[in-house]
């Protein structure tokens, strides 16, 4: 459908590595006064993402989970080049996203699309649905008018189950429900037939009753079109049910990564355990909160020494205070960054 120009389309199979992120770092400098800088005060920085490495496989849904301030959204924005990384690399099908110039980036965006959190803010209220969905096609020069994009728009609307498509094409965002708007956002992301979509909290603004629609749509598309999704969320319960693999972040670091079952049923990291224990179960016959951590997430300007979780961790020993744990692979693909990860007892079901 879409002619690929500068970048040759690699023939990757399902399960091949499509994106390789290595030592990704993003610091945001904290503003200091002129006087302070004259006094030679050290330049402070918010360490939003502080050395993260992982692979993403073609056609999978990878969940990136964590509390606010853990760096998950910064990670997403860095991969999309909506903000520039401080250092590190992110190789998408052989091309380093982080070192592309502006023109090359525009080309790359055909493969790399995004779904934003708030469907009320991410669409121009003065455009109708077909104008919204065809905008990326027009920007990329694939079509030169809204009308010329009609077939593509109809086909992606059908892909997101907005049927019949003609019914929705000339509607405006205010005529759609929240769930429908988010489907339009998914359709817009699909219009360029991308390989890779980053979805940043795509359902957190929607009523719980309709979240399933949008999430299942992502899952279906990953299977039917081999689109790879990175699903950024604070909601471990939905991640458990739609993600193939889950990555858990804490204070700028990735602390655990594995298949959804590995991470949820047999979490290696005390933080992952606490996060699972803090999720409410919608069943009044099973009550109680296990393993909740004390306190709140510390400042990313001055993170704790050693393991960043140690001040809140119930298992912390001396080495945790001084030495940062490595992100080690345990059985299969299950990785965790904890000195005690091999020794923790399995979580009670």
């Amino acid at each position: 459908m879409v002619a690929m120009t500068a970048i040759a389309k690699n023939e990757l199979k399902r399960g091949d590595v499509i994106l390789q992120v290595k030592d990704l770092v993003k610091y945001f400098p904290v503003r200091t006064s002129f006087l302070q800088s004259l006094r030679g005060k050290e330049q402070l920085a918010v360490r939003a993402v502080d050395g993260v490495s992982f692979d993403v496989y073609k056609g999978e849904v990878l969940g990136v989970v964590g509390e606010s301030g853990c760096g998950k959204t910064t990670l997403a924005r860095t991969l999309l080049r909506l903000t520039d990384a401080t250092s590190g690399s992110a190789i998408l099908e052989g091309v380093d996203i982080l070192s592309r110039n502006h023109a090359e980036m525009k080309e790359l965006r055909k493969k790399l699309q995004v779904i934003f959190q708030d469907p009320y803010e991410s669409m121009n209220p003065r455009m109708d649905v077909q104008t919204i969905i065809s905008e990326p096609l027009r920007i990329q020069g694939i079509v030169n008018s809204v009308n010329a994009a009609r077939d593509i728009v109809a086909s992606v609307l059908a892909d997101v189950e907005m049927l019949p498509p003609e019914e929705y094409m000339s509607r405006y965002p205010h005529e759609l429900s929240g769930g429908q708007r988010q489907r339009v956002a998914v359709a817009r992301a699909l219009a360029l037939d991308p390989d890779f979509i980053v979805a940043d909290e795509p359902v957190s603004m929607l009523d719980v009753s309709i979240r399933g629609e949008v999430l299942n749509l992502m899952l279906t598309l990953s299977r039917s079109r081999d689109v790879t999704f990175v699903y950024i969320t604070h909601d471990l319960a939905t991640a458990r049910h739609i993600c193939d693999r889950i990555a858990v972040m804490y204070l700028g670091k990735m602390v655990e990564l594995g298949t959804a079952d590995e991470v949820i049923i047999n979490p290696r990291h005390p933080y992952t355990r606490a996060l699972i224990g803090a999720v409410f179960v919608p069943d009044p016959r099973h009550r109680g909160f296990a393993d909740i951590l004390r306190g709140e997430i510390p400042s990313p300007v001055n993170p704790p020494s050693g393991c960043r979780l140690h001040p809140r961790c119930p298992h912390a020993i001396d080495i945790c205070r001084t030495t940062e744990p490595e992100f080690i692979t345990y059985e299969g693909t299950h990785r965790a960054a904890c000195h005690l990860a091999g020794q923790l007892k399995p979580r009670q079901a």
């Binding site: 509390e67 719980v208 009753s209 458990r240 803090a278 016959r285």
Partner: protein, 330 residues
């Protein structure tokens, strides 16, 4: 006798295009020391109900019938003066939605609680300050932070301060409107755990308003499921969650993923709530309901009991729903 009895309560908003029936013939009871959850999608009338109970209606809201009785006394006909003196904050207090913004940013947190106490009770300033220190301890804030401002508190701490303020005048009933919605999961769990402990210690009743059925499952004794301003289902939480009798309640319970369960499809509930200016005829849920027939389109279902234990439902098809088949599978 129940601590609070709400009967056929109707509260409408006046608009240029007619009345919005935000709370439309709602009845329930709250027992001393028990917690009742009010659940439903956005716009179903949950928050309107809270303001109706505290008589804090916006200027275009008004009562159109029904009664709210506390300890045998009718609250809706009481004079505003008496309600303010005897009921609001002293017997019924509230934890507001978005507690982050419920504190005044230019006043010290401790002072704001002292002020609330002095406003409602005839005690000396020293006594109020002493009580505030005790309240800080009770909700898990170091009393040394009495003189700090809201911006020096984290989100969870502010929420604790707001809870302390709700407890300041020893109320019998606390209405908590989405008390943890803006907080992270871990802090949410900490706060709800504290609320549960406080309730037990002080024998407090609570009405918890939330869209999150999993929060209600973990903290409440009974639950009201609201749809379009009406009660769809009401009963003991275990009854409603395990044997839902209303298709809406069943769909809503199903759409909450359970992290402890094996991997399944995340369910959803198709469609969206109706416009309350012109609600659908008959059962308000009929346009979204997989079981709807002619009767549902024309006759509004009465609230009736199914299967004992005060399990109430407003649905013509409750018996079919309770047979346990998956009415929502397509």
């Amino acid at each position: 006798m129940a601590l609070l009895e709400v009967k056929d309560l109707k509260m409408y908003y006046r608009t240029a295009r007619g009345h919005v029936r935000a709370v439309d013939s709602v009845s329930f009871e709250i027992e001393q020391g028990k917690a009742l959850g009010i659940a439903g999608e956005s716009g179903c009338g949950k928050t309107s109900m809270a303001s109706a109970l505290l008589r804090l209606l916006p200027s275009n809201g008004s009562y159109h019938g029904g009664s709210v009785v506390m300890d045998g006394k009718e609250l809706l006909t009481m004079s505003e003066e008496q309600f303010r003196k005897d009921i609001r904050w002293k017997r019924i207090s509230m934890i507001f939605q978005g507690a982050m913004n419920a504190l005044n940013p230019v006043h010290k947190v401790g002072e704001q609680i002292v002020e609330a106490i002095l406003h409602h009770e005839d005690v000396s300033r020293e006594q109020a300050v002493k009580r505030t220190h005790d309240l800080f301890g009770l909700v898990g804030i170091n009393p040394k932070r009495f003189n700090e401002y809201p911006h020096e508190f984290s989100g969870g701490m502010k929420q604790r301060a707001v809870i302390a303020m709700a407890l300041a005048c020893h109320p019998d009933l606390i209405i908590a409107d989405e008390p943890t919605t803006a907080l992270d999961v871990m802090v949410q769990a900490q706060i709800l755990k504290s609320i549960a402990e406080l309730r037990q210690r002080l024998n407090l009743s609570m009405m918890l308003i939330t869209h999150d059925l999993s929060v209600i499952a973990q903290t409440c004794d009974s639950v009201v499921i609201m749809y379009a301003g009406k009660v769809a289902e009401y009963g003991d939480v275990v009854d409603v969650y395990t044997r839902p009798a209303h298709p809406y309640a069943m769909g809503l319970v199903n759409s909450f993923p359970n992290i402890q369960a094996a991997r399944t499809e995340v369910r959803s509930l198709p469609g969206f709530p109706p416009n309350l200016l012109a609600p659908p005829s008959g059962c308000r849920f009929h346009p979204r309901c997989p079981l709807a027939d002619e009767e549902c389109k024309q006759v509004e279902p009465a609230v009736r009991e199914v299967g004992g234990n005060k399990h109430m439902v407003a649905c013509h098809k409750a018996e079919i729903v309770q047979q346990g088949g998956d009415i929502w599978s397509r």
